[in-house]
């Protein structure tokens, strides 16, 4: 991978019941996707305080993904 290539750091909040489950299912089916995402599991995206999103950006995330 060349250093010039855009390699964003993405932080994801995944709902345990749907998106986290879907991410597991993607694994079971061996779907390949880029390794840029770092995830935090929550019991529901209702838990995601906007402050967490802002904090993520402060900490250097290039994008925040909320899946629920």
């Amino acid at each position: 991978m060349s250093k010039e290539e855009y390699n964003p750091k993405i932080l994801g909040f995944l709902c345990n019941w749907c998106c986290y489950a879907a991410a597991d299912a993607a694994g079971v089916s061996r779907y390949q996707y880029p390794p840029n995402l770092r995830t935090i599991r929550v019991m529901c995206t209702g838990r995601v305080d906007p402050a967490f999103v802002l904090r993520g950006f402060v900490e250097g995330a290039d994008g925040i993904f909320t899946g629920g």
Binding site: K3, V28, Q32, P35, R38, V42, P50
Partner: protein, 946 residues
């Protein structure tokens, strides 16, 4: 299924056949034999290495033979038990005594060819038969070229084609040349409603699954042209008509026609069909899907003989309308498709109902066979955080991509980590022992395991923690398999980096984890049943049978509901009155309900006029059985209706036919189906009207054989065995004439004469006649669901029926814990289905009563009352009504979580303006530290790059 696999009180005996079943209710002896798997279940880690080495091929039965697998395999990764097995029909060693390559390949030495069949005798109090259904024989399918042309498939094969774990990983392809089929035909009623193959009954589920499959196929390829050839569309279930409408809107074509045959035609298939007007046509298709019906299970005869119960003429289990889950042998019950073709929600309902009756039978032995696990006391934690990190190879699943030693060493350098290691399979039985030892040896008080998904394995590890004297909350799992090694298989470097990041984030969270107490709330062991019809009375009696008190609240002055005249109803009323555990309140209304599962308090009023009394009832559960009433539409299909002796509803006709004298059956009668239903006035199908109409038609013909009976219909929905009645009515000369919505029948009264005119599609002409009577098949509307839904805070559908928690898997539970529904308040249905549902609702409602307490997962929300300003934002946002306002000692309003109702979604915590609410296991501190740890990775990478 995973739940069944994990329960200490369910022993799953797979590969097992029943040899004999003797004894009587309360005391049966069952001999079974378990065929060997040739794999030691406890040692198999389901890594799959054996399959990759096995040299032999065999057809994959799980995929309906559409692709191949190896003799040593597992049907699908989530199978329970998650143990491989060796198919003795094709294994080279078991057929030719050679090979055995798998034996040395297996790293956990789980393969054992010396296993022999094992016989066991089980002593049980009751038996539930749920052997499912069989397959329609292939010779019935032959006229559609099934077996001759690979692109003619059954609906189950088509399911596998649609499935991502199927033969083409979810792509629909023709089996002949792998092309994507553009034109697909579904043929309905294959092996059902077909006297040719002795299956006179309707399989009830095929119309709906065909629609589902067609819709999914359309999602795969929006340009696909899909046609469904049918006789009647039988989407009589709750909200099913709406699904059919959506399918039509999506461009799926529905053609009412009989399919004569399907023949290979070049690269394609040619389908010949005839429509009602007598025209024969043919059309080319790329793929033809046969909507095969449900056959009785192949070993039904043997089973019935062995157990001593009766089968019906179609070889399904024989049951009675009023005891729909009992076989003819006491103590043996039946659930699911063996009790007649049915769909998943109905099967699930029957299962709960059967479990409830079995429970009533042997209630004296309740709890005696149950295994209760005990755990050591939780140890003191101390101030120092001592984290242990365990990184799993998962055989080669993780280890072949992620550099596991590197990740493990990386974890070792983190603050608070006092122990780190790798393991080959951290989920294996011996790994649990190692985990316990290490917790003890290193005095660990937080555990982080980097392996697979917490959704599947967290409970297992938490169990081990409890065994080691740690609170189960002191645990964090890192998913480096499903969400890392498997999805970044070609980027080992990046996958290792990601694993490190995720481990660091988990360790950061783990530093802030605190033990959370397991909370339990005691349960008031009585029930409240609302509605005293057949459903409510059945439910109340069933609860009493299981040993629980209950109150039965009926708004009329007597019990019985819609079916007061039935002898079964009279029997029930008698039983209810005699039963000491059931207290009946008539002329009664529910006024108010407070509380939550296990601890409800309701106020009801009972009595008339000046004698009205108020009662306060404490109870643990609520069953809603408020029923429905006949709908009397003022206009039917655009015609204004004046009900009279000549224009009646089907129930009025039935009452008239019950009377005496030949005159009670008219010389000519026109029955109009879907009068006010299915979009006419009500939006839905009332499920029972077709069968009732056909029964009335037969009764008219029986009393007055020369009577001219004409039924105008849209789809005749005599599903299940009621199809026999429909066939009978046709044979006896009842004329069935379909009408279309763009050409509705006209009903008028001219002087003293009735006139009905309609378009006859066979004659292709308008017909007008003057019948003596018109009987309208009107639907039903639910009773007072709106008031109750507000009182109990439970949702209703757009049609005002109660909305269950999960349509398929929790069909009698409502979204509010401790509240259940049965009968017509749930949706229109015939009596036998009402009874089943009532039995299921009482079984489900007995569960918290049996348990005696409600356990609360400690991940619920928790309000810090010192910080709470009583703004009520959380109470208005909570989707589960799980937060209430209370007054503190200074009389200030404060929020308080009703832990038994909380579902841990965290909406309250994320909206609380003063951060007064924290979520167990997902506190602000924990999540923020995770985000911060994420940030560290970004920093490190930027430093490296610089």
């Amino acid at each position: 299924m995973v739940e069944a696999g994990r329960s200490p009180n369910i022993e799953i005996l797979t590969n097992a056949d029943l040899l004999s079943l003797k004894g009587k209710a309360g005391n049966f002896k069952a001999d079974i034999v378990q065929r060997p798997r040739y794999i030691i279940a406890d040692d198999c880690t389901a890594c799959g290495l054996c399959t990759t080495y096995c040299p032999r091929h065999q057809v994959d039965d799980y995929n309906e033979g559409l692709n191949i697998t190896r003799p040593i395999h597992i049907d699908y990764p989530q199978a329970v038990p998650a143990t491989y097995y060796i198919d003795p029909r094709s294994c080279l060693h078991l057929t030719h005594e050679t090979c055995q390559i798998c034996v040395p390949v297996c790293q956990s030495k789980a393969i054992d060819f010396s296993q022999k069949p094992e016989e066991r005798t089980l002593e049980v109090g009751a038996v539930i038969m749920s052997p499912g259904f069989g397959r329609i024989p292939e010779d019935t399918l032959a006229k559609y070229s099934f077996g001759k042309h690979p692109d003619v498939v059954t609906s189950i094969e088509f399911e596998r084609l649609l499935n991502p774990s199927g033969p083409f990983t979810g792509e629909v392809r023709c089996l002949s040349d792998n092309r994507h089929p553009h034109k697909i035909a579904f043929i309905q009623c294959v092996g059902s409603r077909d006297i040719g193959c002795d299956n006179g009954y309707c399989s009830s589920v095929c119309c709906m699954y065909a629609i589902k499959e067609a819709m999914v196929a359309k999602e795969h390829d929006p340009d696909a042209e899909i046609t469904i050839y049918y006789m009647d569309i039988r989407t009589q279930g709750k909200e099913f008509d709406a699904a059919q409408k959506r399918a039509e809107d999506k461009g799926i074509k529905f053609v009412r026609a009989k399919v004569a045959d399907v023949m290979p035609w070049g690269n394609h298939l040619r389908l010949t069909y005839s429509t009602l007007d007598g025209t024969h046509s043919f059309k080319p298709f790329d793929m033809v899907v046969l909507s095969v019906g449900l056959e009785s299970p192949p070993d039904a005869d043997k089973l019935a003989d062995m157990a001593g119960f009766k089968l019906n003429k179609y070889n399904f289990c024989d049951t009675d309308t009023f005891a729909p889950l009992a076989t003819s042998k006491e103590g043996i019950y039946v659930a699911g498709a063996f009790n007649g073709p049915m769909d998943i929600p109905e099967s699930v309902t029957q299962s709960s109902g059967a479990a409830g009756i079995a429970s009533g039978l042997i209630k004296k032995q309740r709890g005696r066979g149950i295994i209760h696990k005990s755990y050591p006391d939780e140890k003191e934690l101390g101030d120092e955080v001592r984290i242990g990190v365990f990184v799993c190879h998962c055989g080669i699943n993780i280890g072949s991509v992620v550099d596991v030693p590197d990740v493990s060493n990386y974890a070792g350098d983190m603050d608070g980590v006092v122990y780190y290691t790798e393991s080959l399979y951290s989920c294996s039985q011996d790994a649990q022992e190692v985990l316990k030892e290490k917790i003890k040896e290193h005095d660990l008080n937080r555990v982080v395991i980097a392996a697979c998904s917490p959704r599947t394995h967290e409970p297992l590890f938490q169990e081990t923690l409890k065994d080691a004297g740690l609170n189960r909350s002191l645990f964090e799992m890192v998913n480096i398999r499903d969400q890392c090694s498997w999805v970044h298989a070609n980027e080992p470097g990046a996958a290792t980096d990601k694993s490190k990041d995720l481990v660091r984030m988990a360790v950061a969270k783990a530093r802030h984890i605190q033990p959370l107490p397991e909370q339990t709330v005691p349960v008031n062991k009585t029930g409240l049943v609302i509605g005293g019809g057949i459903g409510g009375m059945t439910a109340a009696l069933n609860l009493a049978d299981q040993g629980f008190n209950c109150s039965l609240v009926e708004k009329q002055d007597s019990l019985g509901g819609n079916f007061k005249t039935l002898s079964h109803t009279k029997k029930l009323i008698d039983l209810v009155k005699k039963n000491k555990l059931v207290t009946v309140y008539t002329d009664a209304q529910l006024q108010q309900t407070n509380g939550f599962v296990g601890n409800f308090t309701s106020i009801i009023t009972s009595g008339k006029g000046a004698k009205v009394k108020e009662y306060t009832l404490d109870h643990g559960v609520i069953i809603i059985a408020t029923g429905a009433r006949e709908h009397r539409p003022e206009t039917v299909l655009g015609n204004t209706i004046k009900y009279s002796k000549k224009v009646v509803t089907q129930s009025e006709l039935a009452e008239q036919l019950e009377g005496k004298g030949k005159n009670r059956a008219p010389d000519s009668i026109v029955m109009v189906q879907c009068a006010g239903s299915r979009g006419d006035d009500l939006n839905y199908c009332s499920k029972t009207c077709c069968t009732t109409a056909v029964q009335n038609a037969l009764r008219v013909k029986e009393i007055n054989p020369d009577s001219q009976v004409i039924m105008l219909y849209r789809d005749i929905r005599t599903y299940g065995y009621a199809e026999d009645l429909y066939q009978d009515a046709r044979q006896k000369g009842v004329l069935f004439i379909p009408y279309e919505l763009n050409n509705k029948p006209v009903i008028a009264e001219k002087g003293s004469k009735l006139s009905v005119s309609y378009f006859d599609p066979i004659l292709q002409d308008d017909v007008s006649m003057s019948p003596q009577m018109v009987a309208l098949s009107v639907g039903m509307v639910p009773e007072e669901t709106d008031t109750l839904s507000k009182l109990l805070k439970v949702p209703v559908t757009a049609d005002s029926f109660f909305l269950e928690a999960h349509v398929k898997l929790r069909p009698v539970e409502l979204p509010v814990d401790g509240v259940y529904v049965c009968g017509l308040a749930h949706s229109p249905k015939p009596i036998n289905e009402i009874i089943v549902q009532a039995q299921a609702a009482s079984a489900k409602s007995a569960m918290p009563l049996v348990k005696g307490y409600v356990t609360v997962d400690p991940i619920v929300s928790n309000v810090d009352k010192d910080i709470c300003i009583g703004c009520k934002l959380c109470t208005s946002l909570c989707p589960y009504q799980a937060i209430q306002m209370v007054k503190d000692e200074n009389n200030r309003p404060k929020a308080e979580t009703i832990v038994a109702s909380c579902k841990a979604c965290g909406i309250c915590a994320s909206h609380c303006p003063t951060f007064a609410i924290s979520m167990g296991g997902f506190t602000n501190e924990q999540l923020n530290s995770q985000i911060q740890a994420f940030g560290q990775a970004v920093m490190e990478k930027e430093t490296e790059a610089a």
